[in-house]
Symmetry: C2
Subunit: 193 residues, 2 copies
DNA sequence: CGTCTATTTGAATGTACTCAAAAGCGGTGG
DNA sequence: CCACCGCTTTTGAGTACATTCAAATAGACG
C-alpha cells in the first residue's frame, strides 16, 4: 500500500523504516471516482496529496467560466493547492479526478509533526518543491516563447504519457489553447509526416 | 551592510545573532554595473543571490535570438538560476543588471554548511521557494487566461513598482508580448480614462 | 550637440479565436 | 447486440488580437 510513496521518498532522502513508518502513520487514504473532487476552490486546503493510481487535474475557472488547467498528476506525483496549503487562505484551484484515483494525503499539521520529529523530511519537501519550481519555470518559458504548435510538440516529447491518457480538451486547456485549435494543430502535424 | 538580508530572514524564521552571523560569514559581496552579468546561460551557477540595491533581470534567448524575461529582482529579492543551482547542470538563464546593483551571494556548498549547522535555515529556504512557487503559478494562470491588456493591468495593480523603474521593452518581454503591442496597450488604456 | 537606443505609430499579415454544425466515440439500457 | 444519447473531436467560415516590418519621434547619455 505504501510501496510507491516509499520509493518516491527514497529518491530524495535516506529514510530508515522507523522514520518512514512515522511518516506513513500520518497518511490518510482516499478514493476518488472520476469527476469527484479532492479540493474545491474557495474552500480550505489542508492537505498535500500523493497519487497512488489514477489521474487528477488542478484547474481554475475564470470570469467567463473557462477552465484553465495548471497541473496534471498521475501515479507517483504530488499535488495540492500550494497557495492555500501554505497560507491557510481559501484554495485557488479545484482538483478533480480524471480517472478513478487513489491518493494518500497528509495534513499540514501532520507534516509539521513529521518535520519536528525528523527534520530530514523538511529536506524532502524542499527538494520536492524545488523540482516543481523548475518545472513551472520551464512552463512559463514555453508559454512566453512558443507557438501553440511548439507547445504541443513539447508535450509530445517531454510528457507523452499524458497525451495517450488525457482527453484532448484538457490537454488544450493545459496548453492554454482551445480544443478546436489543438485539433487543427494535430491535423497539420500529421500532414507534415 | 547586512541589515536588509537580516530583516528578510527574520520574516521567515527566528534566527539569533550567532546563527545569523554564521550565515552572513558565508556571504560574498558583489557589485554589478548596469548591463553586467551575474550568471551567464550555459555556465555553472553555484550561487544564490540577494539584491541589496539595484535591479536584475533573468532571461533566456530562444532560437530566433529573442529574449524572454523570467523574473525581475529588486532590493530585498532573491534570485538565481534555480535549475542550474540545484542540479549542477549549466544554467538556463542569464541574469543581468538593469541598474547598478549590489548583491550578496552564497554558494551551494556554503548553504549546505549552514543547513547542517543550523537546520532552521533549511526551513527558511523551503519557505522562500514555496513563496516563489506560488508566484510562478499565478503567473502561469495569467499567461493562460489573460489577454495582453489584462496582463499589463495585473502588473499595474500588483507590481506597480516595476512599471516606474523598468524599461518598457523589458516589461513587454516579461509579459510575453512585443514592445510595440505594449505601447499600443498603454495608449488604449489612457484613452479609456 | 550628436549619437544611440527606446518608444511610438502605421500598414499589412498571421495565428488562434469564436460560433456553428457535422462527425466520431463511448457508455447505457432495451 | 444494437440503437440511442451525450459528450468529445473535427471541420468550416468569419473575426479579433497581436505580430512583423518599416519609419518617425522621443529620450538618455556621453
Amino acid at each position: 500500500m505504501h510501496e510507491l510513496i516509499h520509493k518516491n521518498i527514497l529518491k530524495y532522502i535516506d529514510a530508515n523504516d522507523e522514520e518512514f513508518l512515522f511518516f506513513t502513520s500520518k497518511l490518510e487514504k482516499l478514493h476518488l471516482k472520476k469527476k469527484e473532487k479532492l479540493i474545491v476552490a474557495g474552500e480550505n486546503c489542508k492537505h498535500l496529496a500523493f497519487v497512488n493510481s489514477g489521474c487528477l487535474r488542478a484547474f481554475i475557472s475564470d470570469e467567463q467560466g473557462t477552465e484553465h488547467i495548471i497541473q496534471f498528476a498521475v501515479e507517483n506525483y504530488w499535488i495540492s493547492d500550494l497557495y492555500g496549503f501554505l497560507t491557510g487562505n481559501p484554495a485557488i484551484y479545484t482538483i478533480e479526478a480524471i480517472e478513478n484515483t487513489d491518493v494518500l494525503k497528509i495534513s499540514r499539521d501532520s507534516l509539521e509533526d513529521v518535520f519536528r520529529r525528523y527534520p530530514k523530511f523538511e529536506r524532502f519537501f524542499r527538494l520536492l518543491i524545488e523540482r516543481s519550481h523548475v518545472n513551472l519555470q520551464q512552463r512559463i518559458i514555453s508559454s512566453l516563447s512558443d507557438s501553440a504548435e511548439k507547445k504541443y510538440l513539447n508535450l509530445f516529447e517531454k510528457q507523452a504519457f499524458l497525451i495517450s491518457r488525457i482527453p484532448q480538451k484538457y490537454l488544450a486547456s493545459y496548453l492554454g489553447i482551445t480544443a478546436e485549435s489543438l485539433s487543427r494543430i494535430k491535423k497539420k502535424m500529421f500532414k507534415k509526416e
